[in-house]
Symmetry: C2
Subunit: 368 residues, 2 copies
């Protein structure tokens, strides 16, 4: 099992990455200072696959773990579900030293993490992400939360898990369309700070894109390890998202607007982020920050990994209105993360609205 | 205006203490780096008294401040009211750099603080406590939260205000029974770490207890300044309540159980804490930790300040059951903060249950 350390100044946290390691979870937990009782939070689908092996491995080393299955889907990611989790934690009389296990994808991790953050003002949390997106992104860095009727992730906390436990074998049961969600983030780490990872993606694109994508889990182990190391570096330097962490938004500002404009049904997060990254590269070229051949190289990789880089028919204005209501807008100014070469980005709030408009318009497909 | 600094290792925070200073609030806010928009959260009673002067002082220096009045009373301190606050923050499109002003007593401070903590994962918060209890205790140290149907303050965050602004003139409109609430905490600081404060209380007991207790606001300025300085020292050393901060629970473990046993109607928080401190002193004497004459000195001060030190008729068992379900119980063991002299306490988890039982029983009045 590989072990990455997120070097927070006061409390460094570990990320364990391995293949077929779930049965060792209890042992790993036992090496940390936690209470005897825990609550495993998951959903029915994931519960059937992995809850038993985790709970048994915990029981083998003397822990008592109860289970709570949440309803599935982003539409339940709200304060009502948080209340359900809190009721269960109160009912089980968990103390601060006890623990919450968040087993699942990003939605489970965000909700279980947020409930753990606010129950008794913070109980021990362990993230066990089972989707590629959660493994390379959402389970690291401590962002937790739920949606508000008026917008995604408007309510939440920064709350660090005591450790994150990643078993790549869980990717075997992941629907292939969800792989693409995580893949966009991996490309992101390559572009913003890891040229070696970018090259590896170029070299292994056909295997990664293949129907039998989990045949060689070691490819995924490399991708996840590199991604976690990159993210760990950034969040350790900027836990509360005041500065450096902003580079992780590469492709996300426009990506979120596209997701929302299509009401979260047409584009997955990763598909929208891929278009967002492509658009950011085009903006960077227009601003004279990026060489056109590098922009081409990034677009080619995205296409080779199976991403579509145009936007389905829509009014550009719909996307632009959403863009300017993003929660990261500062004093009404949009901030764009723009690459200057593979492995290096800058943040600019000087992209003229007209340039944004032109590039969005150029990416929108014509109505057939 | 006095200025106390809470020396958190990364982000020191100020506490401004003065008399008739509310009209200078906007100016003070302007000296901090915050956005242009804010939401003042209060209740109808306090709004009538102080909202206008604060909002005008903010407008005078260019801020825009909207107001939200919450329903009054501990029974509304729940997630439903938090949702109301969040809806208003979303509706007003406040950004992370913008601010929430919590104007009122502990309930307002806890709820506005918690909403500020979880909106966009944390927006700027300023506490403007108007009750003595909030001024010397709850507005400092960053504890925020709401009640769960099954227990008080089970849900919340540690979240520090960017500063705390205390105008002692607000005590003039405080019902005298609420003075006692804060007074118990002031005695606590004297006993746990401030012998000079303890002496000052002894010398000024008659003025403090008097009907016209706010005639000399400078007495209260001294008491609040000393208390804030003491609390600032403790919370700065232990922001997340892992160790030193535990001494602030002097009198509170039993105090909470008494409050709950009488369903929060018979005893105010301060009255219950006074009994809790008295009981802790008796336990300390029984354990050979405290000289009987010092215990007498503490009991005399509490009586001179108007506290009743016996418990109204009840079954001891009712209190004891609640004692052992406190959220600070560790591995089923009760931890008591026990004084060894004026200004010094230790924490013990070795008080036998039978001693606790005897002392509680001895304090319960006989049914008339």
């Amino acid at each position: 099992m590989h072990n990455i350390t997120i070097k927070f100044p006061r409390n460094p946290r570990n990320v364990y990455v391995g293949i077929n390691t779930l049965s060792q979870f209890g042992e790993t937990l036992g090496a940390h200072k936690v209470g005897k009782k825990g609550l495993l939070i998951t959903n029915a689908t994931i519960s059937k696959l992995y809850a038993r092996v985790i709970i048994e491995s915990c029981q083998n080393v003397g822990f008592t773990v109860d289970i709570l299955e949440l309803p599935e889907g982003e539409q339940y990611k709200n304060l009502t579900t948080i209340q359900t989790i809190l009721d269960k934690l109160v009912e089980n009389k968990l103390e601060r030293k006890d623990f919450v296990l968040a087993l699942g994808g990003g939605v489970i991790g965000d909700m279980a993490g947020f409930a753990a953050a606010i129950y008794l003002r913070g109980i021990n949390l362990i993230q066990i992400p089972t989707s590629l997106l959660a493994q390379v992104d959402s389970s690291l860095g401590g962002k937790t939360g739920v949606n508000h009727a008026k917008g995604k992730n408007l309510i939440g906390s920064f709350y660090q898990p005591i450790f994150t436990f990643i078993d790549l074998a869980t990717l075997k049961t992941l629907p292939q369309k969800e792989i693409r969600c995580g893949l966009a983030e991996i490309v992101k780490y390559g572009v913003i700070q890891n040229p070696r990872l970018f090259n590896y993606l170029e070299q292994h694109a056909s295997q990664i894109k293949a129907e039998q994508y989990t045949q060689d889990l070691e490819i995924w182990e490399y991708l996840v390890l590199q991604s976690c190391t990159n993210k760990a570096y950034v969040v350790a330097k900027d836990e509360k998202e005041s500065n450096l962490r902003e580079i992780l938004n590469f492709g996300h500002t426009l990506g979120h607007a596209i997701e929302t404009a299509f009401e979260y049904t047409y584009y997955s997060h990763g598909e929208a982020v891929a278009i967002g990254m492509h658009a950011a590269c085009l903006i960077a070229v227009q601003q004279g920050l990026l060489a056109p051949n590098i922009q081409q190289k990034i677009a080619t990789l995205l296409l080779n990994l199976g991403f579509n880089l145009s936007i389905a028919p829509i009014q550009a204005k719909q996307i632009e209105t959403l863009l300017f209501s993003d929660k990261k807008v500062k004093d009404g100014k949009l901030r764009f993360v723009l690459p200057t070469k593979i492995g290096k980005v800058i943040v600019s709030n000087e992209v003229p609205a007209v340039v944004i408009h032109e590039i969005i318009t150029s990416l929108i497909e014509e109505q057939k």
